[in-house]
């Protein structure tokens, strides 16, 4: 009886070891469900700080860059930059005319957040709200760049 118990213990341990060995490793990029409130921005001008890159002062330039294929981001209320990879069912986010039209708007979005090498990527499922442009930065910074 005692011997059969030990055999069962060994068998279970072996089975567990085989199961663990065969199980796939956890994905490195598991998304996290998030709701983000923030301004739709041109990621390059903001991260490079080559000019003032938020609000109405930078609206025209943000449209230029989105059309030119610079990835669009959301500058969250938490001051984090989220690179947009998908908007609802549309993964065609580069040069996307619909996204160009909401540049600079403050939006509330829900979606999947992926983090890789300290960059936050957002696959948006729903734009819950769109407050339009609320950051009137032109009052301080005029039009960026060139002044016109």
């Amino acid at each position: 009886m005692r011997r059969s118990g030990i055999l069962i213990f060994y068998a279970m341990t072996a089975a567990l070891a085989i199961f663990l060995a065969a199980a796939p490793p956890a994905r490195a990029d598991q998304p996290r469900r998030v709701t983000i409130t923030g301004e739709v921005i041109d990621s390059w001008c903001y991260l490079s700080e080559i000019m003032w890159a938020t609000g109405s002062a930078h609206h025209q330039c943000a449209i230029w860059c989105a059309r030119g294929g610079v990835p669009v981001g959301i500058l969250g209320e938490d001051e984090q930059v989220y690179i947009v990879l998908r908007v609802e069912d549309d993964t065609d986010v580069i040069g996307n005319h619909g996204i160009m039209r909401i540049q600079t708007n403050e939006v509330v979005v829900e979606g999947d957040l992926y983090e890789r090498d300290n960059i936050k990527y957002l696959a948006i499922d729903t734009i819950i709200d769109d407050h339009g442009i609320v950051n009137y930065s032109h009052e301080q910074f005029d039009i960026q760049p060139f002044g016109d």
């Binding site: 991260l47 490079s48 330039c61 030119g68 990879l85 960059i119």
Partner: protein, 179 residues
């Protein structure tokens, strides 16, 4: 100077000129935050594919955000090319799924590291400057990339003119606020 020395110098110059297109100057500094001039090999990849497993066969045909996946697993985000107000997707797309050598600038700001790619080549291929968007924009309109209208493409693009026309340069036309 002897004739043999002159011949040696001439030969060296010819070799240098021949090699010039293969070895571009180092990346041009743009004085970016925490800037670093870099050159590395990486596979051109669709970022959403890498992160989520949603992988169209052609990296999204130029409509998706593209990345550079290094052998050590780092996923570099190239958000800028060498043109004015343009990204690097047009430059990278022809190399979807293949390894390239990229030359440019890392910049780190707000804890986020991004990449401005200035030169690109397939492995052991020829270097090219990254101005793919303007080249394509110009070609679609029967222009040369050096044409003034193409160099100022952002002032002449039909979609931009339409949207800025509707919204105003500040985006506040609907509120009666214009510059």
């Amino acid at each position: 100077m002897t004739k043999s020395k002159l011949s040696f110098i001439a030969a060296a110059l010819v070799i240098a000129l021949f090699a010039l297109p293969q070895v571009p100057l180092a990346a041009d500094s743009w004085n970016l935050p925490d800037e670093e001039e870099v050159r590395f090999d990486a596979k051109v990849t669709d970022v959403l594919c890498v992160l989520s497993g949603d992988c169209p066969p052609d990296c999204g045909a130029g409509k998706r955000v593209l990345g550079l996946l290094k052998e050590d697993g780092e996923l570099v985000l190239p958000i800028k090319n060498d043109g004015s107000f343009t990204g690097a997707v047009t430059d990278l797309l022809p190399y979807c799924g293949t390894v390239v050598t990229a030359d440019g600038l890392f910049t780190v700001n707000y804890g986020v590291k991004t990449f401005a790619v200035q030169f690109l080549r397939p492995l052991d291929g020829k270097w090219g400057r990254t101005n793919g968007f303007v080249k394509q924009w110009a070609a679609e309109r029967g222009l040369e990339a050096k044409d003034k209208k193409a160099r100022r493409w952002f002032r002449n693009d039909e979609t931009i003119l339409e949207i800025v026309g509707e919204q105003g340069k500040l985006g506040l036309k609907d509120k009666g606020i214009e510059p």
